[in-house]
């Protein structure tokens, strides 16, 4: 298949993957241009589902490296497993060995659980799935699963390393009621969180409940028990596990969330009484007791247990799963038991969580106002523009940028309306994260120096820099700093202490450098991305766990209670307050994309910011003027360069460059403008700019449902641009765009796949390639004013144009055949043009003289085929190989230069959104 067909196949494949059964079949059959593509897509989809992991990794055949053996004996210290380096042996459990390990990338210690592998491969597949599900759990009382590492037959789980004592240690003696309640609440909240997400622990026992020195309970090994515990009946049962099993598990009935409650009840009973209520002389005796014995009330033994607690614990031990309370009910009842020494932070957290749950459930959805936002690039510097910050009045944007010559990042300021950017800092150390002071007179920024970040302040028009603080360089790309509303203090993120990983927010006085901690994240959580609300009263921030998952929280700057503002629990990229202070704007990862969402802070549902299809990784909102700016990064970067045509000797330069795809460029007939396709605003859209690259204008905004537009073609009178556009649901059609304004109008379809338009010399007709009528692609033509398409070619045709004398249609064909065919427009047989046999890609353009094309070769050359005489001449050498799928060259009508699409190193660029409400 040709790459064009592969590209089509990919689009069909991606959409079909979201469908199943007959629907999938039907979609593929309708969407595929022919049976070959359909079969290929079907076969590939089958391949995903039939291969064990969709990966089909080659077996290790001959290796210079020792394979990872199943850890029958412990791994020596210093062994690396993935990127982790084993630093110690923690213990052996039923599931395998646990090691402490160092993660050099994130410079942290983790626990590494290396799983003893059973013979069945399906076990590990299921197990990995469970572990992944558990890794989605984000709760201060649940041990965070960082990742699952797989190596050959061995599976290891990297998780939060917890230092502390297991509750096993406390089970032999009667524990005070306060402990019971404080520990119980935390466990109940952890279970409630997991159960709400459909994850059952399956193996609650004291060994899996860790008490840290700071009073936190951490529940270990969520969801991991089922697949690895299959053979545990054979051993170790006398010790513990059996004694915490629910009746349904012993009877091999389905295990549910209620089973966790039973096991949890046993743990509570044991902590309260000092003994397991079902402790028998033998496994058989224990089993009989679990199935038949109703434990005696607790006060009989201890005398100090509140009646409420006794009733609660025994209700948890009900033989009937349906009669047991839920984890949330257990939590609520434990909260209701008064305890003299309340752990304040835990209590506050629980209250806030409950409050959010109640609000979230009770309010109606608030609709965001209809948005007709306009997106335009802020600056067109070549390189990575990062970390935009708006001045409060919306007039200027500060950003960090590493220039073409100087690879060090420095602070730049640009007026939103004017041209040109001003560099404010210089020097050898990288400067980044500029933030305008509220009055716009100063800029704060960070300067990286030997593992530390210096907090710097300077006048926003340039001038003397002053250091007013220093923080640990945490090597995260999160935003770390903001001003308070009076401009007297900065709020910065820094490590809670040198020895701890957690990050909290500190207030630093710009004048005196005095600092004070303002947020106090629970252990395992960090507070990042500070942003002060527009009224200046509230400090908002992202409270997240190590992997970046969490919510927006807020604390009054004058002091007061911490509140959670969102309950999405997603992986964050950035957030800030909307200008009205009623909503927050959050970019978090969903389906691998970082889209921007608007979330009301008084509850209510989040909504995607309409019209903004870019991924948003950094953002800043102006307080005035309904302006927003954001930074976005793309994965591959095709840019449009301008090269001189002899005899011109101008230096080649990138003319149209963004972090997204820029290609399909076309000079307007008078040479004053360039139309091109770009994905800089998300989906591929048609853009226009002046011939010098300035005055960028987005001409299409097909943002509904993932439309893309490409293949722009100017009408010879320069008034119209024809383009093709498709959505995942429908095949491509031809559209016309009036260059002077207005909505694009549909010229063909919907239905068949119509692609790559071009114009007749008189601007009356549009040629395009289509599969209408079945069979291979043929060239068709349709009146530009609208009407029925007429088939032009009979033996295939992909991309064509009329010769300058309007006597011939020249066209390429799809498939393996390279070269051009020529057909008399007045009727007649097609003939192959032998001089153009080498044209195998879409890097060509017709001009009045002939056809310019890139001859594919190890050293690519731009050549010209002359209509008159038929000869081919070499024009100029090209420094970079073409990318074959897109139209890659366009020749300026004045003959001085040509544009060439080439792959460059990825850049990022900043976009300004206006009319942003």
């Amino acid at each position: 298949m040709t790459d064009e067909r592969w590209q089509l196949a990919f689009a069909i494949y991606e959409t079909a993957a979201t469908l199943t059964g007959a629907e999938r079949q039907e979609y593929i059959q309708t969407a595929a241009p022919d049976q070959e593509v359909a079969d290929r897509v079907l076969a590939m989809l089958d391949e995903i589902t039939t291969s064990s992991d969709g990966d089909s990794l080659p077996e290790r055949a001959h290796s210079n490296y020792p394979a990872l053996e199943p850890p029958s004996t412990s791994l020596p210290i210093g062994t690396s497993l993935g990127r982790y380096i084993i630093t110690g042996f923690v213990g052996q459990g039923g599931m395998g060995s646990v090691y402490s390990a160092h993660d050099p990338d994130l410079n942290r210690e983790v626990a590494l659980k290396v799983i003893a592998q059973s013979a069945e491969t399906s076990t590990s597949e299921n197990f990995i799935g469970e572990a992944q599900a558990a890794s989605a759990l984000n709760h201060p009382n649940i041990v965070t699963v960082h990742e699952v590492i797989r190596s050959g037959q061995t599976v290891a789980i990297a998780m939060e390393l917890v230092t502390g004592t297991s509750l096993r240690h406390y089970c032999g003696t009667v524990q005070p009621v306060e402990r019971l309640v404080l520990w119980g609440r935390q466990i109940a909240h952890a279970l409630a969180e997991a159960h709400a997400r459909g994850i059952v622990h399956r193996d609650i026992k004291p060994e899996n409940l860790m008490l840290r020195p700071d009073g936190y309970i951490k529940v270990l090994d969520f969801g991991l028990a089922r697949h690895t515990g299959a053979n545990r009946a054979d051993d170790e049962l006398a010790l513990g596990t059996l004694g915490y099993m629910s009746p349904e598990e012993l009877e091999q009935r389905p295990i549910t969330a209620a089973s966790d409650i039973f096991s949890f009840g046993v743990v509570l009973y044991e902590l309260a009484s000092g003994t397991n209520p079902f402790r028998g002389e033998s496994a058989g005796a224990t089993t009989r007791m679990i199935l038949g014995l109703t434990p005696s009330p607790l006060p009989e033994k201890t005398g100090v247990i509140p009646k409420k607690l006794d009733r609660l614990v025994r209700s948890m031990l009900n033989k009937s799963a349906a009669q047991r309370p839920t984890a949330a009910e257990v939590a609520a009842q434990l909260e209701a038991i008064a305890v003299p020494r309340v752990h304040r932070r835990v209590a506050a957290w629980a209250v806030a969580a409950l409050a959010v749950c109640l609000i979230g459930g009770g309010l109606a959805v608030r609709r965001t106002p209809p948005s007709e936002i306009q997106i335009s690039p802020l600056a067109s510097l070549l390189g990575a523009e990062r970390q935009p910050s708006f001045s409060a009045d919306g007039g200027r944007v500060a950003f960090a940028f590493a220039g073409e010559k100087d690879a060090t990042t420095h602070i730049y300021v640009k007026s939103v309306s004017g041209a040109g950017s001003t560099r404010l800092t210089s020097g050898a150390l990288p400067d980044f994260q500029p933030v305008f002071s509220p009055d716009g007179t100063r800029l704060a920024f960070l300067r990286r120096s030997e593992g530390r970040l210096q907090v710097m302040v300077m006048p926003s028009g340039g001038g003397t820099e002053r250091q007013c603080g220093e923080i640990v360089d945490i090597l995260r790309e999160y935003s770390l700093m903001t001003w308070d509303s009076g401009g007297q203090n900065l709020l910065v993120a820094d490590r809670v202490s040198e020895s701890r990983q957690e990050v909290a927010l500190f207030q630093i006085s710009v004048e005196t450098g005095v600092r004070r901690q303002v947020t106090f994240p629970p252990s395992g959580f960090s507070d990042w991305m500070p942003a002060v609300s527009p009224d200046g009263r509230t400090l908002g921030y992202a409270r997240v766990v190590e992997n970046g998952r969490g919510d927006v929280w807020a604390v009054p700057l004058a002091g007061g209670r911490t509140q959670r503002l969102t309950d999405t629990n997603e992986v964050f990229f950035c957030w800030t307050w909307a200008a009205d202070g009623k909503d927050v704007l959050i970019s978090y990862r969903r389906s691998g994309r970082a889209y921007l969402w608007r979330q009301p802070i008084n509850g209510g549902r989040a909504a995607r910011v309409a019209g903004l299809d870019d991924q948003v990784k950094e953002l800043s909102v102006a307080r005035k003027g309904n302006l927003m700016t954001y930074g976005s990064f793309a994965e591959a970067d095709y840019n449009i360069w301008r090269y001189p045509l002899p005899p011109s000797t101008d230096a080649p330069k990138p003319l149209i460059a963004s972090a997204a795809f820029d290609g399909d460029a076309r000079y307007s007939p008078d040479g004053s403008r360039i139309a091109f396709a770009s994905t800089r605003s998300g989906q591929s859209n048609i853009w226009i700019c002046s011939s010098d690259g300035s005055d960028l204008q987005q001409m299409t905004s097909l943002d509904h449902g993932g439309f893309t537009a490409g293949s722009p073609s100017w009408s010879p009178d320069g008034k119209w641009i024809a383009f093709d556009s498709r959505s995942p649901q429908s095949a491509s059609s031809i559209f016309l765009l009036n260059v002077s304004g207005g909505k694009p109008k549909r010229l063909t379809g919907p239905g068949p796949s119509d692609i790559i338009p071009s114009w007749s010399r008189d601007s009356h007709w549009v040629y395009f390639s289509s599969d209408r009528g079945g069979g291979p692609l043929q060239i068709w033509q349709v009146p530009a004013a609208g009407g029925e398409p007429v088939q032009v070619t009979r033996n295939g045709g992909l991309e064509g144009f009329e010769s300058p004398d309007a006597h011939f249609l020249y066209y390429t064909k799809r498939g393996r055949k390279s070269g051009f065919w020529r057909m008399p427009l007045g009727g007649g047989e097609e003939t192959f043009v032998p001089e153009l046999a080498a044209v195998a890609n879409r890097y060509w353009e017709n001009s009045p003289q002939g056809i310019y094309f890139v001859a594919p070769s190890k050293a690519p050359v731009l050549a010209l085929f002359h209509f008159a005489g038929g000869g081919v001449t070499r024009v100029v050498d090209l420094p970079v190989q073409p990318a074959p799928v897109h139209r890659g060259i366009t020749i300026s009508p004045d003959g001085r230069s040509f544009l060439y699409m080439q792959a460059d190193v990825a850049t990022s660029n900043l976009m300004v959104v206006s009319n942003f409400h």
């Binding site: 992991d53 990794l57 380096i85 074959p884 190193v905």
Partner: protein
């Protein structure tokens, strides 16, 4: 044409050492010398040595860059070349090592192409049976082969950039599906889907060129 074995490990490396032990200047230098007299065994051994080194550089480069950075085989190979010159395993071109550089680049390109072929769908199943091109001879190695690799990856990226990225992470970095998912920030199902597609395309691409 001669049948060639595939030696490369695609699982995770477990090693008690964190520094590369394979990059012994003396070994490389003497193998290069043998290779340049036409010793094909030396060529095979060098390819074996270069693979983990290229992968190490690939990993380091990807880590140093922002997510979304595209790996460039040419840059990768040149970095390894410079490192080898630095440890004096190869002579620099300025001290008469121009042929050595050429030979090295040829070997590296050959290695990359073989890796890609190795991962191509169905070809991988037949990897030990199909005929792969001979090792490059000292004379045949040029940068053209590298450009060809670049071109192949560019073509794949043109279909969809995500496909190229999965192939790079899988083939040159040796990451697992889960690691790729983490790296890219998407689900493992997406990685599996893209990987399956990319392997099918690679198969097509190489079947298409194997008769040249």
């Amino acid at each position: 044409m001669s049948p060639i074995f595939i030696f490369f490990v695609q699982g995770k490396i477990v090693s008690t050492s964190t520094t590369p032990a394979t990059l012994q200047p003396d070994t490389v230098a003497s193998l290069m010398a043998s290779f340049r007299t036409g010793d094909q065994t030396a060529a095979g051994r060098l390819v074996e040595i270069f693979y983990p080194e290229l992968r190490r550089i690939a990993v380091a480069r990807m880590r140093a860059e922002r997510p979304g950075h595209t790996l460039q085989p040419t840059a990768l190979v040149h970095q390894l070349y410079l490192e080898l010159v630095k440890v004096k395993a190869l002579r620099s071109t300025s001290s008469g090592g121009a042929d050595e550089k050429k030979a090295f680049l040829g070997l590296a390109a050959y290695l990359m192409k073989r890796l890609l072929i190795h991962h191509a769908r169905s070809l991988s199943k037949r990897a030990q049976k199909i005929d792969l091109p001979d090792f490059p001879t000292p004379e045949s190695g040029t940068e053209d082969a590298l450009i060809e690799i670049d071109g192949t990856l560019n073509r794949l990226a043109a279909i969809n950039p995500a496909l190229r990225r999965v192939v790079e992470l899988r083939v040159f970095e040796g990451l697992t599906r889960d690691e790729i998912a983490r790296e890219i920030g998407c689900g493992t199902a997406t990685v599996a889907r893209h990987w399956t597609f990319a392997r099918n395309w690679l198969e097509d691409a190489f079947i298409g060129t194997s008769h040249q």
